[in-house]
Symmetry: none
Subunit: 216 residues, 4 copies
DNA sequence: TATGAATGAGCATTCATTCAT
DNA sequence: TATGAATGAATGCTCATTCAT
């Protein structure tokens, strides 16, 4: 399975092979359960070479996270046309997101599951990426609210919470779409868009849900 | 630190102490990184006793998952009045959910993050709980749709996706509320309710989001 | 399987139950691999009681060896009529030996295999029993030699070696007869008797084997 | 104590060192009581290296058994000249056997005592070697019987029993010769040869032992 | 650029044994 | 006479990491 054992190749190439292997193993086993032996073998190199290039298991995992996070944010960025209307931008972003995660399931697992399960250093790196996406969504919401000239002062907490909910829903749907046969990235995006946009719209226009009976 | 070292107590009590300690350590370190030594020490007993009562690390982790999952579903069940209107039931369920997860952060972490990161056996146990909750939400949606006499045949995939998105949003908000100072369980529940109910309503009534421009 | 759990029985009886269990477990697993837990369970008592009566694993094993060795030597002794001719005595002894070992396979295993595998203390106890039997055989040989008035001074080493060989052959045949279906104690005894008696006779009469060609 | 700590040697050499150490420790302590720590230390390497090369305690023990069994059968084979008369071949085989076991006492202990005391896998490996030797002896007996044109149809059970007895006597004598000062391999071989050949001869010629008085 | 040889440190698990009742 | 509760001390095994070439 692992990469074909070709001797003497430039460092950059070897590094990518190693990262490919590492993402695969980390994604499937988790950070702790993944062994450097298995990664080296899958990469088709000896263990000392992995250390020579990537320094340590921790650094290797960090490098995986950074590479996958960059690829994901880049994919989303590339999918969105900046000038488009907010709902359109959200739709495009969602499509790009679900498409990319479907195409890189191990990378997505590393970001979504594994990286958050282990102490500070890694969680921080993922949090940075998450923040970037949440911010992007938050801005879309804010822009929409401004354009609608309604309720321009949705409290900050509220907006952050909404973005958090939206991103959480997306993450959950991504995992679901990846593991449920017959569900495409497009369908996942549509499901979430339908679900979310009305709720956002109502909020923007100051019509939140209120119970028909007094709440406790 | 750790339980006060009281000698000679009945097995049932000791077992709960051990599970308390295990949930804490598993939640903070993850399954692999958690050591039986640390768990035993926090529980105030020797390692052999942990093995005598809980058999193995794997069984101990399973026991944690089962206990925490049972506690969470029970909390949600107890918070919901069966006869109430669907939106009201959803609201009550969300409040109970956010309250419980806020009060048992380690237990929630075990269920939400750690248990899903490790092979089949554990993921399956959590999936069972998740399914139970998703089913509950799905039924609320279905009931609402039926009551509204609208679009009674939302495709099954669509409903499952919605439930998945809703639960994912809730999970994400729970983590957010737990780590963001000044955000209460009530606020988290309200944010999600506002976000979700309109979207669900629109869908039920056959008014999904549609792009102002043709989609690719 | 284990003894029926009857409470409060006299010490002597309990001890025999424990020894029964211990012989079975030691015989099947070996000294080290046998666990006090398993022995106690098979004996139908709690572990502390085993310690109360038998002190330690080492003492328990010693007690097993002593009991089984005594039983075996007693069986052989009881099978031999003192006044009979030497060949007759040997035959009777062999029959008794093969019969007893066939009826107490675990006890025989403990003596033959397990006890000799572990340091000094145990090997010594078995050696004592072995010496007793070897001595008995040696005396039969000596008596025969004296009666025949031939070569009355077979060197001591030679006699000891013969006895050793005879006992070794018997031990080997006992294991073989116990594990080979269709071989009875009587047949095993006959085989060995046929094999041994002629050789002994020749030696007594000063007609050892000599090579047809010079030995190196 | 133990091998001189020379660093960096080829795998094949290290493996032999490890097997040397393992045979010694297994022979002296038994399988269960032997610790991988002690073996590694005696071999002059760290424990992980033992595992890297030999996989597990079980595999290590197997490797010991195989190596020692091969060495012993090879020694016997090399000591016997195929064309010689049967008694001559038996004599040579016995000499080679006693010489080899005297020179490799730990190896012999591993084969004779330790390997047979522990479950199936090991016993099977030794049984294979034993069968090889028993077969060799059985053939010598059969050849002798054929050459003598006497009683060509000694029942199979009888022959197998004889071989078993002979090998058992040899095993016992080997242990005895190894632990009794002043007894050489040559003497042990002579003792057994004297003892056995006459008995075999009588049997071949149809003159088994019969009691002077009726047997029970 | 690349690797075979080697290890320190840690971890899950087991077991003989004892204490308090 | 009898036992439920509890532990100190190993032991097999693995893993991230480095050295010498």
């Amino acid at each position: 399975m692992g990469a074909v054992k070709t001797k003497r190749m430039p460092r950059a190439v070897r590094e990518q092979q190693m990262l490919d292997a590492a993402v695969r193993i980390f994604g499937r086993r988790g950070y702790r359960a993944a062994s450097m032996d298995e990664i080296a073998e899958l990469a088709g190199v000896s263990k000392p070479l992995v250390y020579l290039y990537l320094n340590s298991k921790e650094d290797l995992f960090s490098a995986c996270i950074r590479r996958e996070a960059a690829a994901l944010t880049e994919a989303v960025r590339a999918g969105v046309r900046p000038g488009a209307p907010a709902d359109r931008q959200l739709w495009e972003g969602l499509r790009a997101f679900f498409t990319h995660t479907a195409q890189h399931p191990d990378g997505w697992t590393v970001l979504h599951l594994q990286a958050r399960t282990h102490g500070e250093p890694f969680a921080t790196e993922v949090a940075a990426m998450r923040t970037e996406i949440v911010t992007f969504v938050t801005q879309l919401i804010a822009v929409t609210a401004r354009d609608a000239h309604h309720d321009p002062d949705l409290p900050e907490h509220e907006v952050a919470g909404l973005a958090e909910a939206l991103v959480g829903a997306a993450e959950s749907l991504a995992a679901w779409a990846n593991t449920t046969p017959g569900v495409t990235a497009r369908q996942a995006a549509a499901t979430l868009m339908n679900f979310a946009w009305a709720g956002l719209g109502n909020l923007m226009e100051g019509r939140p849900w209120t119970s028909a009976v007094p709440l406790t």
